[in-house]
Every structure is written in structure tokens, then in C-alpha cells.
């Protein structure tokens, strides 16, 4: 099987060709080694970093931005959003504070400081 992909690791957006023959996966068109890994992952277990916001309960109309510490399986993005949407946190919050622990193999962490 052959798939044409655009690498999303960096803004360059290399056009990748991924050739899959059983366990043997080859990637061409990549501009850097990260592209190979992306090509393989995208065809076997595609993942994405999810970014969103969580309401800060003890501040008026304040949201804290959050992200998954590492990418999660693409198929779980909306499941994670369900969890994030229900979440509320209290300030003060520092960048890197854990907002949701142990979700789809990673953590959701704050990307903004709220004093």
C-alpha cells in the first residue's frame, strides 16, 4: 500500500510518500529524520497534540490554555475534549501544572500562568 502525506511536524510541510509492505514501511520525500517517524506513525498509529482551554473557577471569565504533554491517538481527540470541557481548575496556575492526569497515555498541562 502506498500513501501520500504532508508532514505536519514543522511548517515546511514536506510531501511524504509512505510505502507499506507488511511490517516493512519506507518513507521518502522527507526533509529530515523526523519526517520518517511521522510517516510511519501516521500510517500505523496517527497521533495529535490537542490544545484547548479550561475554565478557572475562582477567577471571573478567565480561561487557562492547556495542551496534551505528548500527542494522543487521533481517534481519542473528541473523548479528550469531553474530559477537558467538564474540567474546572483554581488559580494560581503555573505553566506546566497538571490539569488532567493519566488521560490516553499522557497528561493535560497548563500552557499559561494564571496569577
Amino acid at each position: 500500500m502506498k500513501r501520500e502525506l504532508t508532514c505536519i511536524i514543522c511548517p515546511r510541510g514536506c510531501g511524504l510518500t509512505v510505502q507499506i509492505n507488511g511490517d516493512n514501511v519506507t518513507v521518502t520525500g522527507n526533509g529530515c529524520p523526523k519526517g520518517v517517524q511521522y510517516g510511519i506513525d501516521e500510517c500505523t498509529n496517527p497521533t495529535r497534540t490537542v490544545t484547548s482551554i479550561v475554565r478557572v473557577a475562582n477567577r471571573i471569565d478567565t480561561m487557562v490554555s492547556v495542551k496534551t504533554e505528548s500527542p494522543i491517538p487521533k481517534g481519542n481527540i473528541f473523548d479528550l475534549m469531553e474530559i477537558i470541557r467538564k474540567k474546572e481548575v483554581n488559580a494560581p496556575i503555573e505553566i506546566g501544572d497538571v490539569i488532567c492526569d493519566n488521560v490516553f497515555g499522557t497528561k493535560v498541562i497548563a500552557t499559561k500562568q494564571v496569577k
Partner: protein, 477 residues
């Protein structure tokens, strides 16, 4: 509620009539269909104070226009509404059109307009260099001016309210009953107000209002006019209001600076089904651009910041209708007020009081009437030193909310609180110009939404653009 007089319609005519009547010991109420005043033609027109050369002599239009100019300048001063007497130029392009310049001059003379001159195209270009080389003859009317029509309307109704007039918004009249003691006016929301007299200033709906009251004598023809408004950076392209003589090509498109310093071009004139037909059309935009360039070729249409359309109410005979109804006692129709309605508004209001006297209304002056309104733009015009002092007393004036127009939080809060209160985004925009600049609210709308919510004690989610179902947001995350 029972009043002496109900005014149907919160446009510039209803507003000026309300202000005029607020001088007297009368209970007066203005009924407005929309969530704010100055929503119809009063919001979207050219903002021109016409010199008075145009109307047919001896018509109401001619009388009201020539009397109205000075009255309007006087009232605008009292209400602190900015205006500028910038003069207008009516341009002929070539021999054929030049005859019309002489006709207009003669007509102006008959209407009692004294300060007019006919000048050559070259003379005109000396004082207005951007004028097209093709302009051959010009009727120059130095008394003409520019004013912001919705600011005038808001100020008039606000001043009337300061003097005791009531304003009921979102009151769409659906039924008018006639009793021995007067009128029973019902709204689509089931409200009811009564009054001895009814003054019909309902703009494009004035024929419907008259009909509901039992007078089916006239019919309004709605005509849409589309405009393009350009960035303030283009506001000095011309200093005069540039008209084209009416010709076989139509009534022509004007090019004018506005009282706020933008450049305005338009309007088209298309008969439409109703006042709701205020859409912008591709044909309209094309017409405005092509015809405006005929007068002023160098207009930078890439600097358009917004387009809008207003629907004017005309009548088949072409004159204003300002009279006590021949059929229904106590009803005064002030209808078909198209151009020069803005110029005539104060004169019309004055004339309405004469009509009211004629049908038996007693007008007793109030002792404490105050025709002056606070200067909403005072802060803008202060020196830096003055502003500094002012901010130290009112810190909200130190926070710029609308960066394009330099409008502060203090000004917005003051506008929201002043009569008639601003309840929605468009209302704030019309009062303060916040969101009216080149970014068209891109940066300031979240701040303005919050101020409206705070000042009116409502949730952010309930802030609307222009009342009704025009909510800005669909919920909290």
C-alpha cells in the same frame, strides 16, 4: 399608560418632534419598533444639510428646506452634535448638463436661497482640486453642510427624554383603535398605550400606521440607497459635498466628507418592496464606484471600510406629507420625508406644533426646559493636559477600547448610561463610533460586549448586535 401625545417612530423626525413637544406641558411618548432609535432612514443617509436649491418652489419641501437650514445649525449646536458647513458643488459635465445648473440656480432663487454662485469647472477645481477635469460648470452653495444623522437623532430623543418624554422600544404597532378620548395603540408584544393625539412619524411604515388609524390616503414607496464609506485617511479627498446635476443618467452619486471625517459615496436609488430591503447588492456597489469616479476620479475604493443601505420613504407626488389627517381626528401625518428631510427636521417639528395648535392642542411652555445636551465628544477634543486631569478623576477615560477611533472606556460607559441608553453593540457604535473604524470592531467588540453586559446587568451571552434575536454569542464554554 395614557399620554397626551404619542409619536410613532424614533427617527430624526419623530425625535425632533419629541424634542419640540418636550418644551411644553404635555405628556409625550415615542414608540419605536426597534431596540434603538435612528434605525431606519435616519441611520443610513447622506448626512447632508442641503442648501435648498433642489425642491420645486412652493412645495412643503422647498419651505421646510429653506427654513430648516439655519434652524438645524442652531439645534445641532444646542445638542452638541458635530456638523460642518462645508458647502456643496453641483457639477455639470459638458454643455448639455450646464443648462440644468442654471435651472437649479433659478429654482434656488425662487426658494429664497441667496448665497449661491455659478462658477466654471476651473474655478471649482481651484477650491476643490480633486474634481474631475470633465466638470465644466458648477453651482456652488456655500450654506450647505454635513452632519451625522444618527447622532442628531439620538441627541434629539435623548434631549427630549431629559425633558420628560418617554421612549418605549421594541414597540411594533400592530393595531390602533379609535375611541372618543383618542387612540389605543397596541404592539405585537401585547403592550398597549393610549393618547389623545397620534403623530405618525413612522418613516417607511407611515402609510401602514395611518391605515391602522383609519386613514388610507397615501402610500409610501420605499427606495433603497446604497453607500460606500471610506477610511478616515481618505476623508480629505474632497472638502465640499460634490453632487452631479440630475440628468438622463439618473440623479447622480454624491461624494462628500462626513462630519466624522470619513469619505462617503452614494446613494443609489432603487425602488424596493419594503424597508427591510436594505441589502448591499453587487450592482449597487458597481454603480456607486463608477458614478462617484465620474466626479472625483482619484477616489481610493480599496480604502472602503464598510458599505450600507438605507431605505427612504417617498410618495408618488414627491412632496412631504405634513398635515392633520382629513379623515381621522387627532392624527397628524408626518410622512414621505425623504430628502431633504434631515435638513428640514427642525422646521418640520416646528410646523407640527402649528398643526397641533390648529387641532386644539394647548401648548404651555415648561419653565425648566433645557435644550442643551452634554457634549459627548468633549473628551476627544481636550488638550493632552486637560485629558490628563480628566483621567485622574475618571480613570476609565484612560483606557482606550476602540483603537481605530481612539474611543475610551469612559466614553463608552457614558454613552451607555445617557438617554437614550445604548442596549446593544450597534447602539454603542452609533453613539461613540467604537467599532466604526478601519477594523470594524475586530479588536474592541469583546470589550464593548463586556461593558454593555456590565452596565445593563445582563450576561455576556445575552448581549445583542441590534436587539431581538441578534445575539453575539451562543453560550459559555
Amino acid at each position: 399608560m395614557n399620554y397626551d401625545i404619542i409619536i410613532a417612530g424614533g427617527g430624526v423626525i419623530g425625535g425632533m418632534v419629541a424634542r419640540e413637544l418636550s418644551k411644553y406641558k404635555l405628556s409625550v411618548c415615542v414608540l419605536e419598533k426597534q431596540s434603538d432609535v435612528a434605525i431606519g432612514a435616519s441611520k443610513a443617509n447622506s448626512g447632508i444639510i442641503h442648501g435648498g436649491y433642489d425642491p420645486e418652489p412652493n412645495t412643503l419641501k422647498a419651505k421646510m428646506n429653506s427654513r430648516g437650514v439655519d434652524l438645524l445649525y442652531k439645534v445641532a449646536k444646542e445638542l452638541n452634535v458635530p456638523f460642518k458647513q462645508n458647502g456643496s458643488m453641483i457639477c455639470a459635465f459638458g454643455k448639455e448638463e450646464e443648462a440644468e445648473v442654471f435651472n437649479l440656480f433659478e429654482r434656488g432663487r425662487e426658494n429664497g436661497i441667496e448665497e449661491m454662485r455659478i462658477i466654471t469647472g476651473d474655478e471649482a477645481r481651484e477650491i476643490e482640486p480633486a474634481l474631475s477635469e470633465d466638470v465644466s460648470l458648477v453651482l456652488y452653495v456655500p450654506t450647505a453642510g454635513i452632519i451625522c444623522p444618527y447622532k442628531l437623532t439620538i441627541a434629539a430623543i435623548g434631549n427630549a427624554m431629559d425633558n420628560g418624554v418617554e421612549l418605549i422600544r421594541n414597540f411594533e404597532i400592530c393595531d390602533i383603535g379609535k375611541t372618543d378620548s383618542g387612540f389605543v395603540v397596541k404592539s405585537t408584544n401585547g403592550e398597549e398605550v393610549t393618547a389623545k393625539y397620534l403623530i405618525n412619524c413612522a418613516g417607511c411604515s407611515s402609510d401602514k400606521v395611518a391605515k391602522m388609524a383609519g386613514d388610507g390616503e397615501f402610500e409610501i414607496i420605499p427606495r433603497a440607497g446604497e453607500y460606500l464609506l471610506l477610511d478616515k485617511a481618505e476623508g480629505s479627498t474632497v472638502s465640499h459635498t460634490i453632487f452631479q446635476v440630475p440628468s438622463a443618467n439618473g440623479k447622480g452619486i454624491l461624494v462628500t466628507p462626513t462630519a466624522d471625517g470619513n469619505l462617503l459615496t452614494g446613494p443609489t436609488a432603487a425602488v424596493v418592496e419594503s424597508a427591510d430591503n436594505n441589502e448591499i447588492t453587487p450592482e449597487g456597489i458597481r454603480t456607486v464606484i463608477n458614478l462617484a469616479k465620474r466626479s472625483v476620479p482619484e477616489i481610493q475604493f480599496s480604502k472602503v471600510i464598510t458599505s450600507f443601505a438605507g431605505v427612504r420613504s417617498s410618495e408618488k407626488d414627491g412632496d412631504f406629507i405634513i398635515e392633520a389627517s382629513k379623515k381621522v381626528e387627532g392624527l397628524v401625518n408626518v410622512a414621505a420625508i425623504d430628502s431633504p428631510g434631515l435638513t428640514s427636521c427642525v422646521a418640520i417639528a416646528e410646523y407640527v406644533t402649528v398643526i397641533l395648535k390648529g387641532i386644539g392642542v394647548t401648548l404651555t411652555q415648561k419653565e425648566n426646559w433645557n435644550g442643551h445636551r452634554a457634549d459627548m465628544e468633549a473628551f476627544n477634543h481636550m488638550s493632552d493636559e486637560k485629558k490628563d486631569e480628566f483621567i485622574k478623576q475618571n480613570p476609565a477615560y484612560g483606557k482606550i477600547v476602540c483603537r481605530c477611533e481612539g474611543i475610551t472606556e469612559g466614553e463608552i460607559r457614558a454613552a451607555v448610561r445617557q438617554n437614550p441608553k445604548a442596549l446593544d453593540m450597534d447602539a454603542v457604535k452609533r453613539r461613540t463610533r467604537s467599532g466604526m473604524g478601519r477594523c470594524q470592531g475586530g479588536f474592541c467588540s469583546p470589550y464593548v460586549m463586556r461593558i454593555i453586559a456590565e452596565e445593563n446587568g445582563i450576561k455576556m451571552e445575552d448581549v445583542t448586535k441590534k436587539g431581538g434575536a441578534s445575539k453575539m454569542l451562543v453560550g459559555r464554554i
